[in-house]
């Protein structure tokens, strides 16, 4: 395939205007994709791509939120030193039950993800390229890959259906044919990952943004969003009684605006869970905070994978948190002693608090266990679970007190 031929076949395309970028194409097929976004430009070299990504300020959309260019920067030096070609992985495992944006992206705009994979793989001269996605999107992704001649090198693999399946080393283990659970690492995956090769793993939304930055440039990317959170991001928004919806919003949007846009009555919420089960609560009084790092830092949250889950003021937050903590305890990979033992212990104490045990030592015991498990595992599952539980005790301190006094009148279903 030659890109000049593509340019000739398709007239120059206007860059998307407004916040509909990843969702700009009216249909998922390749022809619509090409007429909406134009052809994928000839492969940039890695230095040019790296510069464009750095200028764009694009942060990873998988949850951790590291600048996307950093991983790219970590690879080429190693590659030259070892003469080992890179493995590129698009990650759509999306094990977080509250998140649907990666699946939605692969259903609506699979070709942007493929473009992103090809852009990164081309710039780095990759050895192999994988797309790791959950079962529900395999069919759509297979169809998209079959539609184009340039994607034959991309190997599609079905992701494990567990909470931690998307953790980077768990993805590498799964692709290597091992159990899809995290691995202890003393070297980065960008140094030694799948098959010992330098491995670059990006969330699929990050890759889709890369595909657009490669076409329209860093300045265009930054033309929407805030300085702290440039560009757009996909968010999964829901609350009690409202099915979750996936939206594309400008970076740094006000959280209350996003919720109201989907029809949620923000006045009826006691808090919003930001970032999913490994995230933190944003109390009702703070709903006008922006969805960016600076505004959320004070609450221990970050935009992460873009999950906003409203909690109705009638629901007992302690009971909800105990159920989530119990679920997360069950999702341990079963490898690391402090996680295997600590998460069930922490969930059990929170459960006692939720079900009416009035022992005043319970909140302190939850905090002690949360501190013990944090940082003592091979992945961040214990850390994320502890963050969520601690956020519950802090944001819902009044509800915890009500439980200790036996006064909680909220809905415990």
């Amino acid at each position: 395939m030659s890109s000049t031929a593509d340019t000739w076949l398709f007239p120059a395309v206007q860059a998307p205007v407004g916040t509909a970028r990843l969702t700009a194409a009216p249909a998922a097929d390749y022809a619509t994709h090409q007429s909406t976004f134009g052809p994928l430009p000839a492969h940039a070299d890695s230095a040019a791509l790296l510069a464009a990504l750095r200028d764009s300020g694009l942060e990873g959309r998988g949850g951790a939120g590291f600048p996307a260019w950093r991983k790219l920067a970590a690879v080429p030096a190693r590659e030259r030193a070892r003469r080992r070609r890179v493995v590129v992985i698009g990650n759509a495992a999306e094990g977080e039950p509250l998140s649907q944006k990666d699946a939605t992206l692969l259903l609506r705009s699979p070709h942007l993800v493929i473009d992103g994979l090809l852009t990164v793989a081309g710039a780095l001269g990759a050895h192999s390229v994988y797309l790791y996605a959950q079962a529900s999107v395999i069919e759509s992704a297979t169809r998209a890959l079959a539609e184009r001649a340039d994607a034959s090198a991309i190997e599609l693999r079905e992701a494990a259906d567990t909470f931690i399946s998307g953790e980077a080393s768990a993805v590498v283990n799964a692709l290597a044919g091992r159990a899809p659970i995290p691995q202890d690492r003393t070297v980065r995956l960008t140094e030694s990952g799948l098959g010992g090769r330098p491995t670059l793993l990006h969330n699929v939304e990050t890759l889709a943004h890369i595909a657009l930055i490669a076409r329209f440039g860093a300045a265009w990317f930054r033309s929407v969003g805030t300085t702290g959170d440039p560009g757009t991001r996909l968010v999964t928004v829901g609350s009690d009684g409202h099915p979750s919806r996936v939206l594309e919003v400008a970076g740094g949007s006000r959280i209350g605006d996003v919720l109201r846009f989907t029809g949620v009555d923000t006045g009826s919420l006691s808090a919003v869970l930001v970032g999913g089960y490994h995230g933190a609560w944003l109390p009702a009084y703070a709903l006008e905070a922006r969805l960016d790092r600076a505004d959320l830092a004070g609450f221990g949250a970050n935009p992460g994978a873009g999950i906003l889950m409203g909690l109705g003021e009638r629901r007992c937050p302690v009971a909800v948190a105990a159920a989530v903590a119990s679920y997360l305890a069950g999702e341990t990979a079963g490898q690391c002693g402090p996680c295997v033992n600590g998460l069930p212990a922490m969930a059990a104490v929170l459960g006692r608090l939720a079900t009416g045990d009035r022992d005043p030592g319970l909140p302190g015991e939850v905090r002690r266990l949360a501190a013990i498990v944090t940082g003592r595992g091979s992945c961040n599952h214990p850390d994320g679970t502890a963050r969520f539980v601690l956020s519950t005790l802090t944001v819902f301190a009044d509800d915890v007190t009500a439980h200790l006094n036996g006064h909680c009148r909220k809905d415990h279903r």
Binding site: A333, G334, Q335, G337, V340, N341, P344
Partner: protein, 185 residues
């Protein structure tokens, strides 16, 4: 002189078995993760290792002295390949088998960092085969079997190891076992 070698050969065999028994007991204690009175856990591990090495040294003397003995009629091949011996081939063969197992166990233990935990562990389990084989060899091949002291010695060793095994298989053998969740791996 031949009498002296014979006595040395028998004596070192018995001492070696006694030391191996102690090492097995310390190994089981080591696996439980508990200290021995005031002896800390890492010392239990080190004593376990050193007693086993000492037992190996005595075993080496046992082999060398009996190689020079005319009654035992040992050839070099009998040190390696079991059940080929001229006199009492079965009982001698058990001794040879125990030596082979012991070599595998000691070498993988000393090279634990090289062979990895899995290989080390798998081979180390062979101790539970090596020890009874060595005991049977001492009973079947030994010239002191009728003696009261030897019967008492063999009985003491057996009772100690069986008791340790019963403990090994009991719930709560491993320190903290009763407060831990079973791990998947």
């Amino acid at each position: 002189m031949n009498e002296a070698l014979w006595a040395l050969g028998r004596g070192t065999g018995v001492v070696s078995l006694a030391l191996f028994t102690v090492s097995v007991l310390l190994g089981i204690l080591n696996r439980s993760g508990r200290p021995l009175f005031t002896l800390p856990r890492f010392s239990v591990a080190l004593v376990h290792r050193n007693v086993a090495l000492l037992a190996t040294a005595f075993l080496a003397i046992h082999l060398v002295t009996l190689f020079g003995d005319s009654y035992a009629q040992l050839r070099l091949v009998d040190f390696v390949v079991p059940f080929l011996g001229a006199a009492k081939p079965f009982w001698l063969g058990l001794g040879t088998l125990a030596v082979d197992l012991m070599l595998a166990i000691v070498i993988t233990a000393l090279l634990r960092g090289v062979v990895g935990v899995r290989v080390f562990k798998a081979v180390h389990w062979l101790t539970y085969l090596m020890w009874p084989v060595a005991l049977l060899h001492s009973i079947g091949n030994g010239t002191d079997v009728g003696q009261t002291w030897f019967i008492a010695f063999a009985a003491t060793c057996s009772i100690a190891v069986v008791a340790a095994l019963v403990w090994r298989l009991s719930r709560g053998f491993i320190e903290y076992q009763n407060v831990r969740v079973e791990r998947a791996s």
